[in-house]
């Protein structure tokens, strides 16, 4: 065995060397790209933090033409749409995963699983379009709003977009719970539902959390859909019914304004600063998710997620 491998290596010393360096190059370039993106983002965004006063930058009014760069409405807009999406997607996604993994008969599972994967492939522009022409009129009509382009409309579409991720990752985690867990619960007199709720879900907990986090990650970074359906009004979403009013998110602001801004202007730097803020928020969410997973039991997390 070892003899064979040594012969092999002697016969192809160059091939071996070539493949190894190619793989190394790929690995390192991935790291270098990340570092480059980082430094670019910070180089372009950092000037905003000293050329615009903090009270202006974190103020409540976003009117770049008048030199007002309050990012708070954008941050809150993003959070509102994302939180709304999570509130809709979390129960739906986990319930669907439970249905697919634990309740549906075998044949139905085989149909549903690929269908859900297909959902993930729908381009976000198409979804945004659907939201504009199909969903937003419904929102306007049934909620008696002046416009159907609201945070809620965006949240529903984002929830819909993150569902396939949540469902398929959560279903994998549920599927990875050993059959013996279920047997053990049933043998203790648990019903089907009690087994799912008190044994299968807790055992799959870290996987389900990861599923939701991946779903949120998709939602908060999404641009096209929210730009098309949230109305893009940079206002503080503080009223009780803010969810049903137009908002503007960080991603939509960057996407909409970056094209028309003069390179090197204050506005330009502020847009990058918004990018930095978005990055920091995403980073915090991911860090919290990792912490939750580690706390939730490294053994289980390790086994369920490989």
């Amino acid at each position: 065995m070892t003899e064979d491998r040594r012969n092999e290596q002697q016969r192809h010393p160059w091939g071996e060397f070539f493949i190894e360096s190619a793989i190394k190059t790929c690995g390192f370039s991935a790291i270098i790209f990340v570092v480059l993106i980082f430094s670019f983002l910070f180089r372009e965004g950092a000037p905003a933090f000293w050329s615009v006063s903090p009270s202006n930058l974190f103020g409540t009014r976003w009117y770049p033409t008048f030199g007002l760069y309050g990012t708070l409405p954008l941050i809150l807009g993003s959070l509102l749409v994302t939180v709304g999406a999570v509130i809709i997607a979390l129960p739906l996604g986990v319930a669907t995963a439970i249905f697919v993994g634990e309740v549906a008969p075998h044949w139905l599972r085989e149909v549903l699983k690929p269908l859900i994967e297909v959902l993930a492939g729908i381009p976000s522009v198409v979804l945004g379009f659907l939201g504009m022409v199909a969903l937003s009129p419904l929102v306007r009509q049934y909620l008696h709003m002046p416009t159907g382009l609201t945070a809620f409309t965006g949240a529903v579409l984002l929830a819909y977009m993150s569902l396939p991720t949540i469902v398929s990752v959560a279903e994998d985690a549920i599927d990875a719970v050993p059959k013996e867990y279920r047997d053990a619960a049933y043998a203790l007199g648990a019903t089907h539902w009690q087994t799912i709720w008190r044994v299968v879900l807790p055992a799959a907990k870290s996987g389900v959390i990861v599923a939701v986090m991946l779903g949120i990650g998709r939602a908060i970074g999404e641009t096209m859909t929210v730009m098309m359906v949230t109305g893009n009004a940079a206002r503080m979403p503080l009223e009780w019914n803010a969810l049903f009013m137009p908002v503007r998110t960080m991603t939509a602001t960057i996407a909409a304004e970056m094209g028309e801004v003069a390179q090197g202007s204050t506005h330009y730097h502020v847009l990058f600063a918004v990018g930095i803020i978005l990055f920091v928020i995403t980073f915090i969410i991911n860090a919290v998710a990792s912490l939750v997973i580690i706390r939730g039991g490294p053994k289980r997390g390790g086994r369920l997620l490989g």
Binding site: E180, Y181, D183, A184, L188, G189, G297
Partner: protein, 254 residues
């Protein structure tokens, strides 16, 4: 004789999907307060028989059963039987100890809480009682609220036994409960079974013929889904009636 039978298995034949039957025309009586050992080579249907006694095979799709199984004279497969109630009455311990993803205490009180027991004092009492009966109390009494995963394999298996005892069942089914245990833990589990049979009826699939002979009051030999013979253990292991039983016991098999 029949009145005092705990389980009465009559003409039991059982099929998984469409293949040949996993069990063929089994007739067996299980008496209270004794250890019945069901032994035989791999895939002879021992687990299948055990899982039929608390209807755990209900969860497997596409099965077919003929014959009857009576518990205290009642057909457990009759329509309208409360399966959850049955499983509380007939507890089961598996080969692999699977602690539920919670604390030691949470594992023991899991069954009673499912059954609706909420009283803290009563739950604590049950916890201590069950852990003592499973010979685990002294090792874990100071860390009841630690995760059950932290226990050693032997402790986990005794925890699974305690978990079943906390349901206060009448019958305990054990499917090869010592398969993953070291000799010392095995001895502890076997010793607690000897004590437990005073209060319970015990049906066990053993790890080996030696273990069967060590702990059985009565033994049943299964081969390819057929019950070859069953008898008082002292008789069966010293004077087997059937040639195949003798071959298997003496290791001249296959």
């Amino acid at each position: 004789m029949t009145e005092q039978a705990k389980f009465l298995i009559e003409n039991l034949t059982f099929y998984y999907d469409s293949g040949p039957p996993a069990l063929r025309n089994i007739n067996l009586t299980i008496y209270p307060h004794e250890i019945l050992v069901i032994f035989g080579p791999a895939l002879s249907g021992k687990s299948t028989l055990l899982r039929l006694l608390n209807r755990l095979n209900d969860l497997v799709y596409d099965t077919r059963m003929e014959g009857r199984i009576l518990l205290d004279g009642e057909d457990i497969y009759a329509p309208g039987v409360n399966v959850t109630e049955l499983r509380r009455q007939v507890g089961m311990v598996f080969a692999l100890p699977i602690p539920l993803p919670t604390t030691i205490r949470g594992n023991v009180t899991y069954g009673p809480r499912l059954a609706g027991e909420r009283n803290r004092a009563r739950l604590d009492e049950l916890t201590e009682q069950s852990l003592r009966a499973a010979a685990l109390w002294d090792e874990v009494k100071d860390r009841l609220d630690e995760p059950a995963n932290a226990l050693s394999g032997g402790q986990q298996q005794r925890l699974c036994l305690a978990r079943v005892l906390a349901l206060q069942p009448e019958v305990i089914l054990l499917d090869n409960p010592t398969s993953g245990l070291d000799p010392l833990s095995t001895a502890k589990v076997e010793a607690s079974l000897q004590t437990l049979k005073r209060d319970y009826t015990i049906v066990m699939v053993p790890h080996s013929v030696q273990q069967a002979a060590r702990i059985a009051d009565r033994a049943a030999f299964l081969l390819s889904g057929e019950l070859i013979e069953h008898n008082i253990a002292a008789e069966l292991f010293t004077r087997p009636q059937d040639k195949r039983t003798e071959d298997y016991i003496t290791g001249r098999f296959g």
